[in-house]
């Protein structure tokens, strides 16, 4: 797919609300994109979308390429007498990126504002501090319980308001780049001419513990899982070089290890070699943190060999994830190059 078309698709995917547990809309959108490819698919009971695409040849092992559909979001937990909404985060969200943001309710697109006591009426001990999410409230413009309950109920989902845009020099900015970017690469691959039979998994509920991927493993029993994701880039002002994890504009990120997974050494070496031969920029993640559904693929059933190919992304799990287009494209190219090859598995 042409880069421009790819980023148009990414923009569309990022705009769809789909917090963990409510991936229906994004799955429908992805399904609409892959139907014309003729690939076979099924949706499992947990909402995972599994796709099988015939290649020119068979592999002696089963390989799945996975990305998760869900994004971090918010769940309404109570309505107050003043018509405000108590809520909690779905997935790991820093309270500080929530304060003062606008959110979009999934069921009707309604806008809510995370209320923020003005600095003028804060007490001095409140200055500079952010209250826990449990103490924040979403304002939907209602002033009493009846008014608010007529519009929103306990259990309703919301996400950060969509805001995809080009940013700076060759970057993009949006909510939910993690991991709609991976989904966009997968749909591209499904439409491409593949060397080998390949399974694709669009996982649910990664942000709350990879529950979707666990079921995918159970059904597919893959031998190899390649996870495409956004990984946190710490290349921001005042961060020492050794603590940056990875950096924008330095290519696809390959991991030895993260917060949940020790990656397969042979696959990692193979990926590095492939990137070198194909002259695809790549870098190694230099801290052990974060994690993705590789942990589920690696530990489910008899286990699978796992590889993660990631796009370095700043401000993950916020309303403004920032990623470099060249890195996003590099992940796509590297994944394609790996799928073209026969893997060195014993």
């Amino acid at each position: 797919m042409e880069p421009q078309a790819f980023f148009e698709k990414l923009k569309a995917y990022c705009a769809v609300p789909g917090p963990s547990g409510m991936e229906d809309a994004i799955r429908e959108r992805i399904l609409a994109d892959i139907l014309p490819s003729g690939a076979s698919y099924e949706v499992d009971p947990l909402g995972n979308l599994l796709v099988f695409k015939r290649g020119r040849e068979r592999r002696p092992y089963k390989l799945v390429v996975a990305a998760h559909m869900d994004e971090v979001g918010f769940l309404v937990t109570a309505v107050t007498d003043e018509g405000l909404l108590c809520f909690d985060a779905v997935g790991g969200v820093d309270r500080r990126v929530v304060s003062g943001r606008r959110v979009q309710f999934c069921k009707d697109g309604r806008t809510g504002v995370v209320a923020s006591k003005s600095i003028h009426i804060q007490t001095p001990d409140e200055f500079g501090k952010c209250e826990p999410i449990a103490d924040m409230r979403i304002d939907i413009g209602e002033t009493d319980r009846e008014g608010a309950e007529a519009l929103v109920r306990i259990g309703d989902f919301a996400v950060f308001q969509p805001n995809y845009a080009e940013f700076g020099e060759g970057l993009v900015k949006s909510k939910a780049i993690d991991d709609r970017f991976g989904c966009a690469v997968l749909t591209d691959l499904i439409h491409s001419d593949l060397a080998y039979d390949t399974y694709f998994a669009f996982d649910t509920c990664e942000e709350i513990g990879c529950d979707g991927a666990k079921e995918v493993c159970h059904r597919l029993r893959p031998d190899v899982a390649v996870i495409l994701e956004s990984t946190t880039a710490g290349d921001v002002c005042d961060t020492p070089e050794g603590a940056r994890a990875c950096e924008l504009r330095k290519g696809a990120v390959l991991s030895h290890m993260d917060g949940g997974t020790v990656y397969d050494k042979e696959l990692l070496a193979f990926a590095l070699r492939t990137a070198g031969e194909e002259k695809i920029p790549c870098q190694l993640k230099n801290i052990v943190a974060g994690g993705n559904e590789a942990r589920a693929y690696q530990t489910s059933g008899t286990g699978a060999r796992v590889l993660a190919i990631s796009a370095p992304t700043r401000y993950l799990h916020s309303a403004c994830c920032v990623a470099a287009k060249e890195d996003l494209l590099a992940v796509g190219r590297l994944t394609r190059a790996i799928l073209e090859r026969s893997l060195p598995l014993c």
Partner: protein, 357 residues
């Protein structure tokens, strides 16, 4: 209400961080010029316009709202395309992580306040007290390119659009104080071609957030006989002190009883509101009002000032929330005051009062 929102939406889309109002003046003049017989821009970057009465010796009423907004100013351009900034006006740090901004450099570019993601944080980090010096704005540019676009002293403002939460509740950055300008302009529209027997001046004052500098100098230039200053006021929110329950969004515009306003005018305005059926909420402000009221009041030989406010939540954030019905009430009241001032406040407009000296 629709018209006020439409006007406010146009005005909130304009730049104009305190000190950088010059950037907005051209568009302000374009948008508002048609409402006045003459318009001017002052050396301190305020805009003002006047609608003249047919009676050249008529008195002058001044309407005030401030043009400037809170924001930031660049203090350093850093490696990796980041900017360090200082605040312009009082801004809460707790809302800045991953907040979006406009950077008003050689061209206007978007920026995002950098935020450390949870994966890289140590435990307890999110509870710590933040200081603006801990933050940096990501521009997405390389340092080399960024240095051609931005320099120390470049202004930065919140980036968000005006939007309705429902029929009458709206959210936007810089409703403080662009919404009040919209309400004043709406009042003038309500008057239509009616000559109220007074010259009506409107000042869109610069630098309110920086010590009322625009208002004091523009009011000096206009030299009015009375003034109606309009700003936003803190609407009650849960958790705020009990005494703030006198200012509730949706219950009308606020009318300030304060040493920094004219009691006679305020009492009159409250009576007019009652007679015209306009909802108002009296509030008491014993010290500074935190608005242009004092700057206008103490211009020249002293100007009687009435201060109206529109209750607003989340002041000085990208999400200032208002009830448009309160802005409509303010517009209705200003229109009524303008219609009745020449007659009911005649004493204020007697020119040529003999000097006692």
């Amino acid at each position: 209400m629709e018209r006020i929102y439409e006007l406010a939406k146009q005005l909130t889309a304009l730049p104009g961080v305190s000190g950088d109002e010059q950037r907005a003046l051209g568009q302000v003049r374009e948008l508002l010029g048609g409402s006045f017989d003459e318009t001017f821009c002052t050396p301190v970057s305020s805009f003002w316009g006047i609608r003249r009465s047919k009676n050249p010796s008529a008195g002058t009423v001044l309407l005030d709202a401030h043009l400037d907004t809170v924001g930031f100013i660049v203090t350093a351009v850093c490696d990796g395309g980041f900017l360090k900034v200082a605040p312009v006006g009082r801004i809460a740090e707790k809302n800045l992580s991953a907040a979006e901004v406009w950077i008003y450099g050689e061209k206007t570019i978007p920026g995002v306040f950098a935020a450390k993601p949870p994966h890289l944080q140590e435990s307890g980090e999110s509870e710590k007290k933040m200081s603006l010096s801990d933050f940096a704005i990501d521009t997405g540019y390389t340092r080399e390119t960024l240095e051609t676009l931005v320099r120390v002293g470049t202004y930065v403002g919140f980036k968000a659009e005006a939007e309705r939460l429902n029929d009458h509740i709206a959210v936007s950055p810089s409703f403080d104080d662009r919404l009040c300008a919209a309400a004043h302009l709406r009042a003038l529209e309500l008057l239509g071609d009616e000559d109220v027997g007074l010259h009506i001046a409107f000042q869109f004052s610069a630098r309110e957030e920086q010590g009322y500098k625009g208002a004091m100098t523009t009011a000096y230039r206009v030299d009015p006989d009375m003034a109606i200053v309009m700003d936003v006021g803190h609407a009650y929110v849960p958790g705020a002190p009990e005494r703030r329950k006198t200012a509730v969004a949706g219950k009308g515009c606020l009318l300030s009883y304060a040493p920094q306003t004219s009691r006679a005018l305020t009492v009159w305005a409250e009576r007019v509101a009652k007679e015209e059926g306009v909802p108002v909420q009296p509030v008491a402000e014993p010290g500074r009002t935190g608005t242009n009221s004092n700057a206008v009041q103490t211009t020249r030989g002293g100007i009687p000032v009435c201060l109206l406010s529109v209750p607003l939540k989340n002041m000085h954030t990208a999400n200032e929330v208002v009830d448009l019905r309160d802005a409509r009430a303010a517009a209705d009241l200003v229109a009524a005051l303008l219609r009745r001032a020449a007659k009911e406040q005649e004493g204020l407009f007697r020119h040529g009062t003999a000097s006692l000296l």
